[in-house]
Amino acid sequence: MDYTPFTKWVLDNGIAERTLELLVGIAIIATIVSLARYLVGSKSFGIYVPIILAVAYTYTGLRYGLIITAVVIASSLLSFLILSRIRMHYISRMAINYCLTIMSLIVFFVVVKKYNLGLPNMSLIQPLAIISIIALSDFFAKQQIKKGFKTTMLVLGSTIIIASLGWFLITREAVSAFMVNNLWLIPALIVVNILIGQFSGLRFKDLLRFRTIIQEKENVKK
């Protein structure tokens, strides 16, 4: 591929092409998270989780990644259900959660292999990618204890949507080639984020939330 002189210089000086692509991708996803929070109003588990999920999905592929995510979440929910009846310390609870998640994943991988469910073999996937997805259960369980089931599922949903969006962008050849060739875009993203950071208008979700106020008075006018 033809690179601009600056990108070429960067690549020749110790950064692998794949690494550079991912690094640029992280900056993009971080900006998506900030857009989603302040313009749309959809919360995610921080900025770290969507980034790590999106990057993990680039290794696992979106379909497989989402299925592993579902297994992790399902086992977290299960452990929460079982453990809610037993009074115990917080960290021990979390540790049990991890153990259960690992157990379910092992069973899951075996089942996939044994019945050939049309999914790629696990051995092709970087273990670190799977571990990154497992870490989601930590955030999930914490949120569940503090904010309850419904809010947590909402936040989880938007986290996965943002991560998938991020995955989609950074796996497009055209996008990553363009970004790698135009590294000045990273400072430009800073400018975008400064603008988002100053934005004081209503979020999309605010509009939904307060729609009765906006509509009500119109009816009265009639």
């Binding site: 503090k146 809010t151 979020r203 979700k205 307060f210 106020i213 906006i214 119109e218």
Partner: protein
């Protein structure tokens, strides 16, 4: 009001954080609000009541030596730095002969359960950022008997948003059976808007549970799951002025520029402050069906000289929600004692009907002691009855009569000449400056409380008010006496 204007009146999360919470609530002030013990100390200096603390548990060691026998029959356990009502356990009554207490939900907590709960609090499970915390064991507020009939088991609380020492908006949260006796909206409590000027409840909302959105409200009229459901609009919140005063005092004491004050009404003590909030939520706008932003902007920059001044500003600026909601409920319009009325000229100047050139806006006095409305002579001739007045005064009618009977006799004998002008409908006998007089009656086209109609008016020489609206025209209206000429 247009949709975009309406949108501009609403305060969103972005603006709340950027323009109010961050610049106005310094870290030192936030620390007070986020720490219930510190809040209590600071409010005590201002003689503001908070629930009495029975015990503080700071360490696990202290927890080991906690004397359960010494705890009263009912109390509340709270994390000192808890957020959003998490970790608060209310114990309603003691089980006879046991060291076990009953929660509003009927669940029983033994000493061991309580110990575990306090341990969780100490570990920071409910505090911001999972920091180590202190458990507060405090008095359970006993609900004011009046408000008790609207709530299920728990204590209703009143939230007031304060800014620049002016109470900006208020709402009441009522525990329901569904919310398990807590005043938490997310668990199903009801929120009710309160008119700042009168302390009367307006709209009531309830969070919809089936919707996927976390903040979707449904408007309701009455309580939902009590034995006997009550209407929620139009309730006068007791101690209202005192509550407003406390809210302003709390803002002064805490130095939070933008504050949410949570006040409960205790059956014996009256208003008691539960909590100060440095990042008060925006749901209050839904309960009041009104935006916070324009209210905040109206108050911005006003120099508030005293607590009473702050309350006065609030009452003058933000009253009036009640009128609208009464109209919505009763279908009747509300008019003030001094109401703005449009008088249309007899012969229009412009062809367009709604042209402002065709009418005059007048502050009128509403007087239920009068039967027929009255209009001042000067004003009447200005709006086009000049000829009629000229005609009437050209007749040599006696200046005054000794009795109504004498007046009537005069009218009867001169009927045809007196109402000789087409604008004069009839004549009326009125008392003016202590004398009985005969005056002409005309038809004036007006617009009162956004309703157009023809009103019969007696032309008078009295100049105190340009127009006085009498009983004949007030059928079907409710009169609000709280707004006067001052």
């Amino acid at each position: 009001m247009s949709k975009s204007r309406k949108i501009k009146e609403i305060l969103g999360l972005n603006r709340r954080n950027q323009e109010y919470v961050r610049p106005l609530n310094p870290p030192s002030a936030k620390r007070i609000a986020d720490n219930k013990i510190l809040t209590k100390k600071i409010l005590a200096r201002e003689r503001i009541k908070t629930p009495e603390v029975y015990k503080l548990v700071k360490t696990k060691k202290q927890l080991q030596f906690l004397d359960f026998e010494s705890l009263p029959n009912s109390f509340v356990i709270k994390p000192n730095q808890g957020t959003g009502g998490n970790g608060i356990v209310v114990l309603y009554g003691k089980k006879k002969g046991q060291t076990a207490w009953i929660r509003p939900s009927g669940e029983i907590m033994t000493a061991r359960d309580i110990t575990l709960h306090i341990e969780n609090i100490l570990d920071g499970r409910y505090s911001m950022g999972s920091r180590k915390d202190i458990a507060i064991i405090e008095e359970r507020v006993k609900t004011d008997p009046f408000l008790k009939q609207y709530s299920y088991k728990g204590v209703p609380d009143i939230r007031i948003i304060g800014y620049n020492q002016v109470p900006i908006m208020a709402m009441m949260r009522l525990p329901t059976k569904k919310s398990n006796g807590t005043a938490n909206l997310h668990s199903g409590a009801i929120c009710t808007g309160i008119d700042i000027s009168s302390g009367i409840t307006t709209y009531s909302m309830h969070m919809q549970d089936r919707s996927i959105m976390s903040d979707s409200y449904e408007m309701i009229d009455s309580t939902l799951d009590l034995k006997e459901n009550k209407k929620l609009g139009g309730i006068q919140v007791p101690y209202w002025d005192e509550i407003l005063e406390i809210a302003v005092k709390c803002q002064r004491a805490s130095k939070l520029g933008y504050i949410g004050v949570d006040i409960a009404l205790d059956a014996e003590k009256g208003p008691v402050v539960f909590e100060l909030n440095a990042r008060p939520g925006l749901g209050i706008q839904v309960a009041n069906q009104a935006g916070l932003r324009w209210r905040l902007e109206k108050v911005k920059g006003i120099e508030i000289k005293s607590i009473n001044h702050g309350i006065r500003v609030a009452k003058n600026l933000f009253g009036g929600e009640v009128e609208e909601s009464i109209e919505a409920i009763s279908g009747r319009k509300v008019v003030n004692i001094n109401e703005k009325v449009l008088l249309y000229y007899k012969t229009p100047v412009s062809k367009k009907k709604n042209d402002p050139q065709n009418r005059e806006a007048i502050r009128v006095f509403v007087d239920t002691g009068l039967i027929t409305s009255r209009i001042n002579k000067t004003l009447a001739s200005r709006i086009g009855f000049f000829e009629a007045i000229e005609y009437f005064y050209s007749l040599s009618i006696p200046k005054k009569f000794e009795s109504f009977k004498e007046g009537q006799e005069y009218i009867d004998s001169n009927q045809s000449t007196i109402i000789g002008h087409p604008d004069i409908l009839r004549v009326a006998k009125i008392v003016e400056e202590g004398a009985i007089k005969i005056r002409p009656v005309i038809h004036v086209h007006t617009k009162i409380a956004s309703e157009e109609k023809d009103i019969e008016m007696v032309i008078t020489e009295d100049t105190t008010y340009n127009v006085v609206i009498g009983r004949n025209e007030l059928k079907g209206y409710l009169i609000d006496t709280s707004k006067t000429f001052t």
